[in-house]
Amino acid sequence: MEEGSRHAYFMRQALLMGERALETGETPVGCVLVYDNQIVGSGMNDTNKSMNGTRHAEFIAIEQMLRSHPKSLLRSTKLYVTVEPCVMCASALRQYRIQAVYFGCGNERFGGTGSILSLHTDFSIDPPYPVYGGLFSKEAVMLLRRFYIQENEKAPKPRPKKNRELNTRFGDDA
């Protein structure tokens, strides 16, 4: 496989995980872990079902991977995730010594690999990791928009969003 189409293939798998999250009422973020061109773990956000705000897709995928692989394998494993890892996950990925991270859209609220903080390169006791953003970012954003147009019934004070329309525009016209 060409390198470009390989990246595209794995990001599409991550987007599929995001779709599944949306179907089950989770924030639609999905990811896959890729070792030696094989998917060794996949995850989607699980914060609502688990009632634990820290159960992000990255942690679910790592947990799945570690059932059949040792932690040291993460040094040669790449992550494809639909949204830039948050500050929590950016630090976790560093501690797990991920080889590289490919993400779809940036995360202006919580992004830990460039948007808010740069935990992939800041001082730490673990080596830095490279990050590549912008792969299928429109698709990742659309997943999020389809989610946030819904009401969050689990929040203490759900906000009514009856009159919202799905925004499908990008760039200057957004």
């Binding site: 914060t47 688990s50 009632m51 634990n52 705000g53 820290t54 942690f59 790592i62 947990e63 570690l66 059932r67 059949s68 692989h69 040792p70 932690k71 040291s72 948050c86 500050v87 929590m88 996950c89 630090s91 976790a92 501690q95 797990y96 010594r97 609220r109 919580f110 830990g112 808010i116 903080l117 740069s118 935990l119 390169t121 800041d122 001082f123 730490s124 006791i125 673990d126 830095p128 689990k154 929040a155 203490p156």
Partner: protein, 505 residues
Amino acid sequence: MYDATDVQDILRDVEPLSGRVIPVRTVQEARPREEFADAYVAEVSVKSASKVIKALDNAFPRDPSRPLNHLRRFAKHTQIPDGLQSTLIKGEPSTQTIFTLITPPLPEVEELQKLLAPFAPPPETPSESSQDTRNIELQTICIPLEPPLTVGQAENWSKTMWPVVFNPATPRATIAPPPQTLNRVLDSIKPKAGHYLALARKVADEAENSGLGRRVGAVVVDPELEAYISATNGDIGIHWADAIVTVAGDVRYARREAGAMSESERQLGEGPNSNVQTYNSDVEGGPELHALMRAADLVADARRKQDGNESNRQLPLNKLEKFFLSQSEISGTEPLVDPDDSSPVPGKYQKTDTGAIPKPIDRSREPRLRSRAQGGYLCTDLDVYLTHEPCLCCSMGLLLSRFRAVIFPRQGRMITGGLASEPIIAPIPVPDFTNEEHEASEATRDQDQHKLEGEASTEHADPQTGRLYYGLHWRKELNWRALGFEFVEEEVTEKSAEEGVAFHA
């Protein structure tokens, strides 16, 4: 199963740490970030001032996320800073004209000149009257983008840059918690912080001695229960422990990976895991096995159980963890704290072989962990007491779990920590608001960090250890915020964790 009387002994033996609780300042408080940008100044006729505002706001709408309300829109000749007078005031100062400020994002010069031309001051002598003299001249000046934090800063900027207004309410709202909130929480935390932190160390001891993890512990307290208990029981006995929702120790060596034995199972014999002596990332488990993340997960697990779901807990629990979990999960059938321990004889000497029969105690609600029906949501409104400054991952996990407050001993600072915002011996801040000097110090800071990581960070680094001060508990950029406190012990009993083995707590 746990032994309830054993746990009561542990709780009775808790010797509270003595010291002070002090708020961890936000990074913006510790190092007020001063941002500056170019702006235009144009001289207009004083009579058309209101029309100028209207025209400018119509043509170039202001960015609502950055309203720049601290900058005066007009300055009279007398209000122009001394340093700008020679550039701005041409000829004799006139009371017929006024200076207006055009703030970033800056429009095209020609467009702006065209817009303002009708409001240009009338020519000085009627004889010179022609189209050409109705020209707007734009001067570029430097303005502060952030509102001033103090009256002094406002005065300084007004004297050197452009007249600014000081509003005590504006800066606090974004860069630091409101003082009344901070003080209210500080007052509620102060009385028993020493107890909960001392118990966190007991939890940490269990974690280490079991071989399951490093010596790191967390105690989660519901401040509402705490207030109820101190109102009804005062300082009696071990009732302070009734406000604890869950405790959790580090279990980084307890997870099986790839079906193999875990690091703790690999270890022969009792006692601390041999891995605690060094940092080897291959055997460090992961941040979800750290004390804080486990505490958040135990809360989630208890709530899932309340909802009738199966627990998916796989990792072993220590005695204290089991005890407090039972208090949070089940509804009132197993009260384990003896209510009558106001006896002058300490409970441990009363214990007989038959064991004390626990009696139910009156509590405001059962079980301890507020259910979802009672408004329980993640770790909202809960406080977490830690033995160490949490790693960056856990610091953000704390925010995503919506804890109200986090408290850790200053001795437990870690170079990998995410909460501290400045070195302990802070350099005496030199108030200096001039632009040039500010830029110079920024440059040196960035250079230092180049040496460390090869890539510049925007965070503040400690020159000795290289650690960065993130103050993650309260950052205006992040959506969720918690209050952060350090406990400064009167007598320090152990050396600072920052000097020990560097790991992620």
